[in-house]
Symmetry: C2
Subunit: 397 residues, 2 copies
Amino acid sequence: MAASLIVRNVRPWGGPLRDVMILDGKIAPDGASPPAGTPEEDGAGHILLPGLVEAHTHLDKTMLGMPWYRNEVGPRLIDKIDNERATKKALGIDPHRQSMRQAIRSVAKGSTHIRSHVDVDTEIGLEGIEGVMRTRDALRDHVFIEIVAFPQSGLLARPGTLELLEEAMRMGSEVVGGLDPCGIDSDPKGHLDAVFALCGRFGKPLDIHLHETGELGAFSTRLILERTRALGMRGNVTISHAFCLGHPDPALIDPLLDEIAALDVRIMTTGAPSRPVPAVAPLTRRGITVCAGNDGIRDTWSPYGNGDMLERAMIVGLRNNLRRDDEVELALRVCTEGGARTMDLPAYGLEPGCDADLVLVRGESVAEAVVDRAPRPLVVKSGRVVARDGRALAEAP
Amino acid sequence: MAASLIVRNVRPWGGPLRDVMILDGKIAPDGASPPAGTPEEDGAGHILLPGLVEAHTHLDKTMLGMPWYRNEVGPRLIDKIDNERATKKALGIDPHRQSMRQAIRSVAKGSTHIRSHVDVDTEIGLEGIEGVMRTRDALRDHVFIEIVAFPQSGLLARPGTLELLEEAMRMGSEVVGGLDPCGIDSDPKGHLDAVFALCGRFGKPLDIHLHETGELGAFSTRLILERTRALGMRGNVTISHAFCLGHPDPALIDPLLDEIAALDVRIMTTGAPSRPVPAVAPLTRRGITVCAGNDGIRDTWSPYGNGDMLERAMIVGLRNNLRRDDEVELALRVCTEGGARTMDLPAYGLEPGCDADLVLVRGESVAEAVVDRAPRPLVVKSGRVVARDGRALAEAP
């Protein structure tokens, strides 16, 4: 459903005013002439960005649009995991309906690409995967959705899960997921051998949640990096959260960062204000790709979140104490280009030949767009308008 | 300018639906009958809260409504202080106009009380104080503004400042300010003796910025507490930021917290995501009053902020990992009742007899109001409507 479109009077990344022409869903070379009757949009001087990239969320379990969930869950990670698995069906969290709601919300806020982890466990089975796959297909012309088959409740600790994960990959999940090989499965070798084997079998990348902090997280990271190197997975592994990289001792993390850079392992951060987090600027300076995501939005884990990747850029900025304009712009690059590199999007950007996946944001400068987070005037996917004035054209169920 | 008003169909703190009657600017006792012709507002089932309390900001130096300021300032605290003092006049940051803009923005977002630190230094002199006093008077019917005379550039380190601070108190500032007695003035005894002496001379409370972390901040805190006790200032001292109380070693901070509780010293936090911060829940459990503020909003220090104390409650919640509904409500209590106790507001709350300073917020629950931060349907000051549907009735210059 690629389309042609002229977007007039926009400022790419806050630079000088220009028109952008889109031919068949691609940004046209400068000087290309549009076919007669090509529709036009007036960008009114707003800033043009490539679409925002939501590189880590959980579309299948948001409760957006449902009655308020009163959270009385315990403080430990396992409390949240166990509560969720036990209550997901009772609460009627339908993965298709809920992923439609969140994905359409994301479109309204300017995200053109979403990587969603989707729970696979012995309670929900493959219903989450099926539901989000239906959403992925239904919204194909509005947003690109990539599915990570995610063993949220543990992999080896809950027999039957590995087989389900394998089936999720056979069904067409794009990425293999994993989770805290020490903290949840208590078998780091077993867990990592299993998920890397799935990657090998299906020729797919890995995106593993790693909440483990300090020395424990550093140990798991080392095991991940060893396998990445040994199995030739360079450029095909993402570590999500990687709280251990927020440890203040350079003696612990610098050797890991060197290896992460060498193996082109990508790091996903939410800029979690209450946790140690990887430091965006130093990692970027080392050449490491850092991306960001909203993680769970209004689910049984946490009530926060609205799917806005500009707000996520703000939180990443606040967490990393990014105040100068160039620093705030870095936070936004994490939420755009960093996500695109993590998802290996082949034609992302504002250059001629890139996919016309675009968002207009309000602000005199890029930094102002981030701190204001005003409604997005226009969102374009493959040359088609998919949202306008903060509202998506697709209707949520 | 107190007025009478009936607000129908509201849910105080998210509780059962009721009507609230206001007589002459005060919440009337249950069963009181309104005089004929009393105006009415339909609360449409929204949650009723006492007005939000912005307990720490800098009204005099926001750049709201001015051209975007490109921040290229260095990373140290002193870089920000020196840059600001040097550029404030050149940039044309008029304290009256700018404080009007921010205060009216705050009213639109439901704040009925503001404590503002206002710079006093040898460059700006008392112009900031004069400008914010004009705003305080001009907006008297819209929002209560309290002024802290604040030696932002240091007190003893810059001769002449103490005399200016004394003059600011004589002019009618409500609170004596202070700043990092070790880190900026390098003379903790001299700095603290000077500001406590001003408190004694004018019979006013103290609100001191303390950015110093770890052992240094703990040392300064000890000196503050010693003077608070010796000078009979119990209940009259606020420590703003108090990053040192975010130190993880209980052996360092527990004795301080005991003394803070005993002396009823109030702690102001922004929930700064990039700094150690006092932990809201444990401090509250000890009986310590914790309040919150937005600090500087879009100034030469930082581009972030919009004056919304619901957003501040969200950031305090995120920073303190407050996820359960009762925890998110605690974050909101900090941004309402905590601020009111810090400012010693004599008749704050929703009980009969309290000042009718109220805000309606949207949400099924209090927690939803915080995470959604939807525009405020109605803001009332002394029984008069001052903002509606997210817009203040006062017009900003």
